[in-house]
């Protein structure tokens, strides 16, 4: 009965006019005033750049003259015009990268979280070790993997292969995937672990008493209860990978069709000084990320509602 579902976070206490005292109203006003500075800071550092970028994206790039309003020309150029080949290549590559890395990170991160959630000697050590990659700045990790993937690097040495990792499309793709998964699976593990730890042990004990197998209690208890944490983790990672920059920039610099939406925007706006076209690319990326987040979020929600309604 979906109508009865109470969504967490949607519960709003309606303030009755009778209950509000003078003191409470003054407090609300104070809260409002205290939030003004934050509001201004956010407006300056977030709203202004976003609006400015959208405005720039509607203007031409006259490098040594004055730029003028050109409407949607920059967007048309990206979708069907001279920039289309590079744009769609980056779009497809970024999307593939997002799907593959997020799935791998989720599986590996979940496994890590399950292990870290068990009580065993040396658990603290394992937790610390798992988190090390996450603590390394991405640019440093990218440099590290750049060395690992050189022709005589450690990856080829260990596996006794002779692959030129950064010299073809798919090997570059997997190199970036490996580096990204290595770095951020711990992040998913951390979020999932937090979700796991709030599941009371009594639930498992009850399941055990009822004769549930380990697999059953994982599917019927762990998964549903940790789901909201997983959704948050997946959302975060998805947003991150859709605007991935450091890894491909350092590992391949976009060679062999490994340009991502962010590296492409950077190259256009910063390296080649095309603020108009670069802003159009950034705006497209921005909208794409919002849509993707919205889609995943509503899918996850629908799923939760269905599960609850079917009970």
């Amino acid at each position: 009965m979906a109508t009865e579902t109470v969504r967490p976070g949607r519960v709003r206490r309606r303030p009755g006019p009778v209950q509000t005292s003078e003191g409470q109203r003054a407090e609300a006003r104070l809260a409002f005033y205290l939030l003004i500075p934050t509001g201004i800071v956010l407006a300056v550092i977030i709203a202004y750049p976003v609006i400015r970028a959208i405005w720039l994206s509607l203007n031409s790039d006259a490098r040594f003259g004055t730029s003028e309003f050109v409407g949607l020309d920059n967007y048309i150029r990206a979708f069907t015009g001279t920039g289309a080949e590079a744009f769609w290549s980056a779009f497809v590559f970024t999307t593939q990268l997002t799907i593959v890395t997020v799935v791998l990170e989720l599986v590996i991160g979940f496994a890590m979280a399950l292990i870290m959630n068990k009580a065993f000697t040396g658990r603290g050590l394992v937790r610390a070790a798992v988190l090390v990659p996450w603590a390394i700045p991405t640019a440093v990790a990218a440099k590290l993997w750049e060395w690992n993937f050189t022709p005589d690097g450690i990856v080829n040495q260990v596996f006794r292969t002779d692959i030129l990792w950064t010299a073809s499309h798919w090997s570059s793709f997997w190199a970036i995937v490996v580096a990204d998964v290595w770095k951020t699976a711990p992040f998913i593990a951390l979020l999932v672990l937090a979700g796991l730890q709030i599941i009371p042990s009594e639930v498992y004990e009850a399941a055990k008493v009822d004769g549930a197998t380990a697999l059953q209690s994982f599917r019927r208890i762990t998964l549903p209860l940790v789901k909201s944490a997983v959704v948050v983790a997946v959302l975060f990672r998805m947003l991150d990978v859709l605007r991935i920059f450091d890894l491909p920039f350092i590992l391949t610099n976009g060679a062999n069709q490994t340009e991502t939406l962010s590296t492409l925007s950077y190259k256009e706006s910063i390296q080649q000084l095309h603020p108009g076209y670069g802003s159009a690319l950034s705006t497209i990326t921005f909208v794409y990320i919002i849509l993707a987040a919205f889609l995943v979020n509503s899918l996850a929600r629908a799923d939760v509602v269905k599960a609850q309604g079917g009970r």
Binding site: I40, F64, T166, N256, I270, L273
Partner: protein, 425 residues
């Protein structure tokens, strides 16, 4: 109500701070010759080799009222360029003297960010002409060459001596020596072929080796043509016939240097800095005392290097242009260039220093380098350099990867370069 008053004061103060932080910089002065003296700021990329302390000290000792302060930007070229661009687009007067990459000069000049220099005030005839030319654009001098740089062919002297061979002067001779590499269990030749600025440099050198160039008519038209096809074919075929090892497609300067120093390469195209490192005692260095350098090979005669290096320019928005120009004059004296070179190992723009006994003793590669530098050509002097280099990398890389035939790649490249050169109007 003092409490409420205090609240408003705090909010007001925060608002004021935020708003004042947004205030734009003052409009710069600009035109009308070099005027204004006073303390100046010298902005350049991070000084990793010690190029600037000597000249700064000399200047500060002589001009106590016009002290120069060094402001270091990040080491990465892209980050430097975006710092310059942001600052200059805002017409800020905080940068007086700027150390800029040779390939940015035309772009900055065309944007109106540089002060045109009076040629008669600088000893241009004492300098290497190709280096000076990197500072020229549309008939004017915009920047002074400070240090310059060119490619050298490093070779394994021990291997060639043992076989009784001379180092190659042409690519054909180089190819003929490749069996020697095989016999010694080495790869033959490598340069910088990853998809980045180094590829543009190596491609340009291959084109120049065949007697061609990248762009002509002051950077307004693609030149390329037959020589470009010949040059690119040599590189692309090199990967197919094994003259160049497959991994070289991933090489930047450092990967090639490591391969050479670990004894895996017979020939390497690289910058002079490798000479110093390969002469040091280090367990990882297997070529100490076993290598030497010659100028880059060509197809029929001597080859021709691309030019690297740094130019000094004065900002059009500086309010102390007179001091800034005087500082440039000091930096381009023979004495200061020598001090800079001795301290940092960067090759100077001053021609005579390449025969200076003290310099040659310290940097034995100088005579070979000078020969290469005199035949060197600047990379295209065009305000659209970034677009040009990215188009070149795209097609040259596709050819090296075997995805495009060299003549097809050159055709596509020609079309793109012409389009880029005419787009501004």
């Amino acid at each position: 109500m003092p409490r409420r008053l205090g609240k408003f004061v705090i909010i007001g103060a925060i608002v004021a701070v935020v708003l004042s932080a947004c205030g734009g910089p003052d409009e710069g002065g600009g035109g009308g010759g070099a005027q204004g003296t006073g303390p100046i700021t010298f902005v350049a990329g991070k000084d990793t080799s010690g190029k600037y302390p000597a000249v700064i000290k000399k200047w500060n000792d002589a001009h106590p009222d016009q002290q120069v302060k060094l402001l270091e930007l990040p080491e990465a070229a892209d980050a430097q360029r975006s710092a310059f661009v942001t600052n200059l687009q805002a017409k800020s007067d905080t940068y007086d003297v700027m150390g800029i990459d040779v390939v940015w000069t035309a772009e900055f000049a065309k944007s109106g960010w540089l002060l045109a220099l009076d040629e008669s005030q600088f000893p241009l005839d004492q300098m290497l002409k190709p280096a000076v030319d990197t500072g020229r654009f549309e008939g004017k001098l915009w920047a002074m060459s400070y240090d310059t740089n060119g490619g050298l062919l490093f070779y394994r002297k021990d291997v060639l001596d043992k076989a009784g061979k001379q180092p190659p002067k042409t690519f054909d001779e180089l190819k003929a020596l490749c069996p020697l590499a095989q016999q010694n269990n080495m790869d033959c030749y490598a340069g910088q072929f990853a998809k980045y600025e180094g590829l543009t440099v190596n491609f340009a050198e291959a084109v120049q080796a065949a007697g061609g160039e990248l762009m002509t008519d002051n950077g307004t038209k693609a030149a390329l043509g037959g020589p470009a096809v010949q040059g690119l074919s040599f590189l692309a075929d090199g990967f197919k016939n094994g003259t160049m090892p497959k991994p070289a497609i991933t090489y930047k300067e450092e990967e090639g240097r490591r391969a050479f120093m670990s004894g895996e390469l017979l020939f390497l195209r690289n910058w002079p800095y490798v000479y110093t490192l390969a002469s040091e005692s280090d367990p990882a260095n297997k070529v100490k005392g076993k290598f030497d350098v010659v100028p880059l090979p060509g197809f029929t005669g001597a080859g021709s290097s691309s030019l690297g290096g740094l130019n000094l320019a004065v900002s059009a928005f500086s309010k102390k242009q007179q001091s800034a120009v005087e500082f440039l004059k000091l930096a381009s004296t023979q004495e200061q260039m020598k001090a800079m070179s001795i301290a940092s190992g960067e090759p100077p723009a001053w021609a005579d220093l390449y025969q200076d006994p003290e310099m040659v003793e310290k940097f034995p590669y100088l005579p070979a380098l000078k020969e290469g530098l005199l035949a060197a050509k600047p990379r295209p002097v065009t305000p659209y350099y970034q677009e040009v280099t990215s188009a070149i990398q795209e097609d040259a890389y596709a050819a090296l990867q075997g995805q495009k035939a060299p003549d097809q790649a050159i055709n596509d490249m020609t079309q793109k370069l012409n389009q880029i050169a005419t787009q501004g109007g």
